[in-house]
């Protein structure tokens, strides 16, 4: 039986009071609830304050480039579907630099879970607007206020009929842990956008701001109803719904790939006689084809 201690406890490079601490806690609890052992978990992250998170627990870790965690996770999962692959990074990383991969990850539907530390700001680079920053928010680099419309990852993911779309909040650790657990259990792409106060740079969307607005979905909410989900996703104002907003049971990418029917790619032998046949086919040897 795996326990929360198996996931360790480490010093972090985060600011005191940051929402990242609860997020880390929520992730660990979810993994324990899921009964996953560290050796079978792979965290893939990008660059940013959020992206440091996997360094603060015990697991396999590939901490790659800013914005590029989805493709790395995709490659790793396809090579070894036995790993539980979790992508964890910030809003800038996943929706800004990595925007195109976000779209592709939804469409490709590989069985990875994306946990986004959404603090609506670029933390590590000291407070520029991120894609999820509110219109009008003032920063050093946007002194006149953000002009671009806020990117709503939940709305876009629902519009694209992603397999699993959820929102949570670091101020609700139980909810967060449970949501992540569900996301990890989901077979296919799963998004958990986590509202996470940044005490150093985001003075607008602070803990109180989120706390006041976040409202769990009513019991009986049917996440399989796309129209309802789209309407729910559009709510972002005095109330912000948290929970599993949309889900469907599209089979994951892996289930369509013939080569994966026989198990992971890792550790396979080369079938030399099959290879000889391929060589002859390509080379047009008599009678083959």
């Amino acid at each position: 039986m795996v326990s929360i201690e198996d996931y360790g406890a480490y010093e972090t490079a985060w600011c005191p009071g940051c929402g990242n601490f609860s997020l880390l806690e929520g992730v660990k609890r979810a993994l324990v609830m899921a009964g996953l052992e560290p050796r079978n978990v792979l965290f893939v992250s990008g660059i940013g304050q959020a992206a440091k998170a996997p360094h603060y627990l015990n697991a396999n870790v590939f901490n790659g480039l800013h914005g590029r965690s989805f493709p790395v996770a995709t490659g790793a999962k396809l090579a070894n579907p036995g790993l539980a692959v979790i992508v964890e990074s910030g809003d800038g990383c996943m929706y800004g630099e990595g925007g195109n991969h976000f779209l592709a990850a939804i469409r490709r539907n590989v069985d990875v879970t994306a946990i986004v530390h959404d603090n609506q700001i670029y933390g590590l680079t000291k407070g520029q607007a991120s894609p999820t920053s509110e219109e009008g928010m003032k920063t050093k680099t946007q002194p006149g206020g953000v002009i671009l419309e806020r990117f709503d990852p939940v709305a876009v993911a629902v519009a694209m009929r992603a397999g699993f779309v959820a929102r949570s909040f670091t101020g609700a650790v139980e909810h967060l842990a449970e949501t992540i657990r569900l996301a990890v259990a989901h077979r296919g792409f799963a998004l958990v956008d986590v509202l996470q106060p940044c005490v150093s740079f985001n003075r607008v969307n602070n803990f109180a701001w989120y706390k006041k607005r976040c409202r769990e979905l009513p019991s009986g909410y049917d996440p399989s109803d796309w129209t309802l989900a789209m309407k729910t996703a559009a709510e972002w104002g005095d109330t912000i719904p948290i929970g599993v907003i949309y889900r469907n049971d599209r089979p994951p990418f892996e289930s369509h790939v013939p080569a994966l029917a026989k198990g992971p790619l890792v550790g396979r032998e080369v079938d030399r006689s099959a290879l000889a046949a391929e060589m002859n086919r390509i080379g047009g040897a008599h009678g083959s084809d």
Partner: protein, 563 residues
């Protein structure tokens, strides 16, 4: 070197590549050697494309310029290529395309076959003219269409027959090839450079490839896709090249030997990923199929202008290997070597090819796949003591690489500078030793450098230096010059980096005159050699108009008497 050069010309969409491939296949099956040069425009229909097959009874290794037989699928082809026709050459064309020249074989195609089988008739005519065995041609045709389009096979057969019959009555238009040195029924295969890379990669254990389509690299993933199911590969079309390289890195990290293939502009987008592979010490094979640039350039033509770019691609300093196969067989062997090297030194390894070689079909002896070994990624977890340090400092610079999930050892790596255990660090002392650790790997890579291939006397008057696909042209030009009494040698680099000057510097110094023959405008290999050895190559043969370097081009550019 006796050879016959056949050029098939027409518009994109007319099926000339199919005619060319079938002709080449028939020739290879007949025991001949071929060198195919494909020249096409960046469009789907129209324009002017050519498919040239140079045929030799003995081994040949370069394209030729003078044409012996033109097969013209449209009138423009006649117009454009008559000037290149040898005096004893022939043009095979519809009667309506060609009348001005007595070298025209005016074929009444509409009498020989219905419209959609004219290409088959043309194939028949050219084969008959060359004296290719009819049984071989129809066998090849059968294999190509018999299973996929049985309904049209009868018409195809008939078209071929009427073509042969028509030719039988015109002995004056016959240009029989000399008998093949190897008997018909030989087991030689026909393959182009990209197919050979794909096969070599799979034989070396490739399990994962990601790509974004880009000419002239796309036929590599295409070949892989074609065998993915049967060979157990995952070949994924990515949303862009950045995704492609990062996917391959992820797959390789997890234990699947991985490859990406692209061309200049696509590779430009992968550059950050190259640096990531180096920092995380993830094995990765990257094929860059060169085409003329900058930017989109000439998407479907050939060039060798990305050597310096590939050699220095990526921020920061790290070891890499760069190969440049000189022919189709070498594509296979170098692809294999690339995978072993990448795994052994946990570094990015590059294969530089180009459109000419990528698309150039050749006759190759079958590879001995029954005895070839493959890469087995990762170390034995049992042999590793705890705590496991993914980036442990070692004398060679190479650390034992475990695969995630394979044991209780956790595999941690980071694109930030990291401690031995893979976690990010701000310790500047660690930084220093980690830089040194990574760079130490270069010595190991250098110990495996393929020596450049030298051919010629010990103190030649002229030495031609080449890399990549120009190998054959330079060797043939050197032979031609020797034939004319100029003691000429050739030095070919199939590996560009790391260079091992002790392998070749003496050769450079012993030559009277050294000329670098490169498919670029600035002499990139020559510059690199000077950087690494101080030796300045004074003469240059450069080509950058999108066409491959031929022996004749070299002779012309050197302006050697009587060439």
């Amino acid at each position: 070197m006796h050879s016959t050069n056949i050029l098939i010309g027409g518009e994109a969409g007319q099926g000339l590549a199919t005619v060319g491939e079938l002709l080449s296949r028939a020739l290879v099956r007949g025991g001949y050697f071929v060198v195919v040069t494909q020249s096409y425009e960046s469009r789907i229909r129209g324009g002017h494309n050519t498919f040239a097959v140079r045929v030799g009874a003995e081994a040949i290794d370069a394209p030729a310029e003078e044409i012996d037989v033109v097969v013209a699928l449209n009138d423009e082809t006649v117009l454009l290529h008559l000037p290149e026709l040898s005096s004893s050459g022939l043009v095979i064309a519809d009667a309506s395309f060609c009348d001005a020249d007595e070298r025209c074989v005016r074929v009444p195609f509409k009498d020989l076959a219905p419209k959609q089988y004219v290409n088959t008739a043309a194939l028949g005519v050219v084969c008959a003219v060359l004296g290719v065995d009819r049984g071989i041609v129809s066998g090849v045709l059968e294999e190509a269409f018999g299973r996929k389009h049985p309904e049209t096979m009868e018409e195809n057969r008939r078209a071929l027959e009427s073509a042969f019959a028509w030719c039988a009555g015109r002995p004056e238009s016959s240009r029989p090839l000399p008998p093949a040195a190897s008997p018909s029924g030989t087991s030689r295969l026909m393959m182009n450079g990209n197919e050979a890379i794909a096969l070599g990669a799979v034989s070396a254990g490739l399990r994962f490839a990601a790509f974004y389509p880009m000419t002239p690299s796309t036929t590599i993933p295409l070949a892989l896709v074609g065998m993915a199911g049967r060979m157990g590969l995952v070949v994924e079309q990515a949303e862009d090249e950045i995704a492609a390289i990062n996917m391959a890195i992820g797959a390789s990290y997890a234990g699947a030997p991985s490859l990406v293939a692209t061309s200049g502009g696509g590779f430009a987008l992968m550059v950050e990923g190259v640096s990531l592979a180096a920092m995380t010490e993830t094995p990765l094979v990257i094929v860059v199929a060169q085409r003329p640039a900058p930017a989109t350039g000439l998407p479907t033509r050939t060039e060798q202008a990305d050597l310096e770019f590939v050699l220095h691609a990526g921020h920061g300093e790290f070891p890499r290997a760069v190969f440049a196969p000189g022919g189709v067989e070498e594509c296979f062997h170098i692809a294999r070597k690339a995978f072993f090297l990448a795994e052994r030194h946990q570094s990015p390894v590059f294969i530089l090819t180009d459109q000419f070689l990528a698309d150039s079909y050749r006759a190759v002896a079958p590879f001995d796949v029954a005895s070839l070994e493959w890469v087995r990624p990762g170390a034995d977890p049992a042999a590793v003591s705890a705590p496991y340090l993914r980036h442990a400092l070692t004398e060679s610079g190479v650390s034992p690489r475990l695969l995630p999930g394979a044991s209780d050892h956790l595999v941690v790596t980071d694109s930030d500078e990291h401690t031995e255990d893979g976690h990010l660090t701000e310790d500047l002392g660690v930084r220093k030793v980690m830089v040194e650790k990574r760079l130490r790997k270069l010595a190991g890579i250098r110990a495996e450098t393929i020596p450049p291939e030298y051919e010629g006397s010990d103190r030649p008057e002229l030495l031609l230096v080449t890399w990549g696909s120009t190998r054959g042209a330079a060797r043939e030009a050197a032979a031609a010059l020797r034939g004319k009494g100029l003691d000429t040698a050739s030095l070919h680099f199939s590996q560009i980096w790391p260079l091992a000057p002790e392998q070749f510097l003496g050769r450079l110094k012993n030559a009277g005159l050294v000329a670098a023959v490169e498919g670029n405008a600035t002499g990139q290999l020559a510059r690199l050699i000077r950087r690494e050895t101080g030796f300045e190559i004074s003469e240059r043969v450069a080509r950058y108009d999108g066409l491959p370097i031929t022996p004749q081009y070299i002779l012309r550019e050197l302006s050697v008497e009587g060439a």
